[in-house]
Amino acid sequence: MSFWLIQSLNSLALGGVLFTLAAGFSLIFGLMRIANLSHGAYFMLGAYVGLSVITHGHGFFVALLAAGLAVGALGAVVERLILRRLAGNSLGQVLATLGIAFIIADFSLWVWGGDPQPVDAPAFLAGSTQLFGLVFPLYRVGVVGFAILLAISLWLLLDKTRLGMMIRASVDDMQMARGIGIAASRLFTIVFCLGTALAGIGGVIAAPILSVYPGMDSDMLPLALVVVILGGLGSLAGAFIGSFVIGFIYSFGQALFPDLAYIILFLPMVVILALRPRGLFGRIAA
């Protein structure tokens, strides 16, 4: 019984991490139709920036803020200087983002070295809590809370604000949106910046659970892909459900069949694709 409860919490926490990663990915894909293959790299870069901020004696929240700002700014620059020139050329976008992923990965290896580095949970979430006579690490509960908070704020942003309205209009019909005076190019920069900032923040959130290591970019990118393929490309609700489904499958897979966890992970994607190629919440087959 305790095994199932603890694994369930681990699954939820991993799901929360995956959601911060996949939400940005889904947002960028939904609006710009860019399969941003550097998304895993932004996640890792965020984790490393957070690590540096924390080792310099600043707190966890400063690290979150710094990672979000730094990675978001980088995303904005990349969008303005590179992706902008490749509008409508999806193969070019894929190659360019892959190139950027390689540059960030090698840069991180250069600056932060090749050893995995642990990150401590923030002080107020450091301990563990007793529930039903079982010991739960408090940080993982915090991550689940953060994911829910993030989902609500993104939903509010998209549904209740002017910016969200413009984003939704552009997702539905780009030409019409431009026609009624929405500055789509500025919107692209904002959304790409927001998406990469979320990836960077996700990296810091994940750091106390996964630690920070080279290769976490290419470990996490396929997970983000599976989440959005499962949930439906460009759908936030799909990303939310998909993240927790994958979180559960991966955590339990790892605990029950450690050798095969990686394969088990891709099975739901294969099944979903066979039954419903556009994913659970996807609207159009891209």
Binding site: F29, R33, A35, L37, I82, R85, L86, N89, S90, L91, G92, V94, L95, A96, L98, G99, I100, A101, F102, I103, A105, D106, F107, W110, S218, P222, L225, V226, V228, I229, L233, D259, L260, A261, Y262, I263, F266, M269, V270, L273, A274, P277, A285, A286
Partner: protein, 318 residues
């Protein structure tokens, strides 16, 4: 000289140069480098069937290389099969897996196809990395010997080079015949006008699936040559970076041409070998090369040169 005869003359000169290359270089290092270029070119040619001719960009193609390499190596090392039967079984097995992967990946096209092939490629990588009992995990499999076709020893660099050249020319010829056949025309049709093709009564899905499977088969051929050359295989060879490198060869050289992937393979392999002599940051350099190609030579080198020639000729006429 007419354009066609010129092209043929160039091809004959090129093949002649390849044939005397070990004498020209006179060193094992460069002969081995040439073998590496040819193996990479084999691989790029097979990927180009998908990317260039069918318009389906795959990011999991290194998986087929790994599948063929691992399975032939495992059969030889653990069951003591000879090279011919292990190679044949590896090719057959990889082709079957390619056919199965095709069933899954071709549920989608475009960006989704790319994401699914990436995920499938990562599964193969994950198996190679985690299923340590069979694959040796991170250490890979080593101690693989080179075959002895007709009693010939392929140990020396030049012998192996000629063997590779022979396989390369054979695959080149097969792929050239394939893409120029009526079926090849229908493949390009599904790339440019899938709806029209389907309205004309072609089975677009079937054409794509056959192309995917054939491309997987040739990828497996390249995998066999790769493992014979390296005499070693590890999960590293299946990694995303490797699939991306192959894709770069195709895009840099020029998709949907026969010469493009070969030029791209030569460029990437030579660049890698030269660069690794001077700097450690090959991956970073690879990233910048990607950006450079995408931003400045988006159609590839071979079509770029062809366009330049065309412009020169137009100038002469006017």
């Amino acid at each position: 000289m007419k354009y066609w005869t010129m092209k043929r003359a160039l091809l004959i000169v090129f093949i002649a140069l390849l044939a005397i290359l070990p004498w020209l270089t006179g060193s094992d290092y460069y002969t081995n480098l040439a073998s590496q270029v040819l193996i990479a070119a084999l691989f790029a040619l097979s990927l180009n069937l998908l990317v260039g001719y069918a318009g389906l960009t795959s990011l999991g193609h290194a998986g087929f290389l790994g599948l063929a390499a691992y399975s032939s190596a495992w059969l030889m090392l653990n069951l003591q099969w000879d090279h011919a039967s292990a190679g044949a079984a590896a090719l057959a097995g990889s082709t079957v897996v390619a056919a199965l992967f095709g069933l899954i990946a071709l549920r989608a096209s475009g960006i989704s196809f790319l994401m699914i092939t990436l995920a499938l490629g990562q599964i193969l990588w994950g198996i190679a990395y985690r299923w340590a009992g069979v694959t040796g995990g991170d250490n890979g499999l080593s101690g693989i010997s080179r075959p002895h076709p007709f009693g010939l020893d392929l140990g020396p660099a030049s012998h192996f080079y000629y063997f590779t050249l022979l396989v390369f020319l054979l695959v080149w010829l097969l792929i050239a015949l394939w893409v120029r056949s009526p079926f090849g025309a229908s493949i390009r049709g599904t790339r440019d006008q899938p709806r029209r093709m389907s309205a004309l009564g072609f089975n677009v899905w079937l054409i794509r699936w056959i192309t995917f499977t054939v491309s997987g088969f040739f990828g497996a051929v390249a995998g066999l040559m790769y493992v014979y050359y390296q005499q070693f295989i590890s999960p590293h060879s299946l990694a995303l970076a490797n699939s991306a490198e192959m894709l770069l060869m195709v895009i840099a050289g020029g998709p949907a041409t026969l010469a493009g992937p070969v030029v791209g393979a030569a460029l990437v392999v030579l660049l890698k070998n030269i660069a690794s002599g001077y700097i450690d940051r090959w991956i970073m350099l690879l990233g910048f090369v990607f950006l450079f190609i995408v931003l400045f030579v988006p159609n590839g080198i071979v079509p770029g040169i062809a366009k330049l020639r065309q412009q020169c000729r137009n100038k002469e006429r006017s």
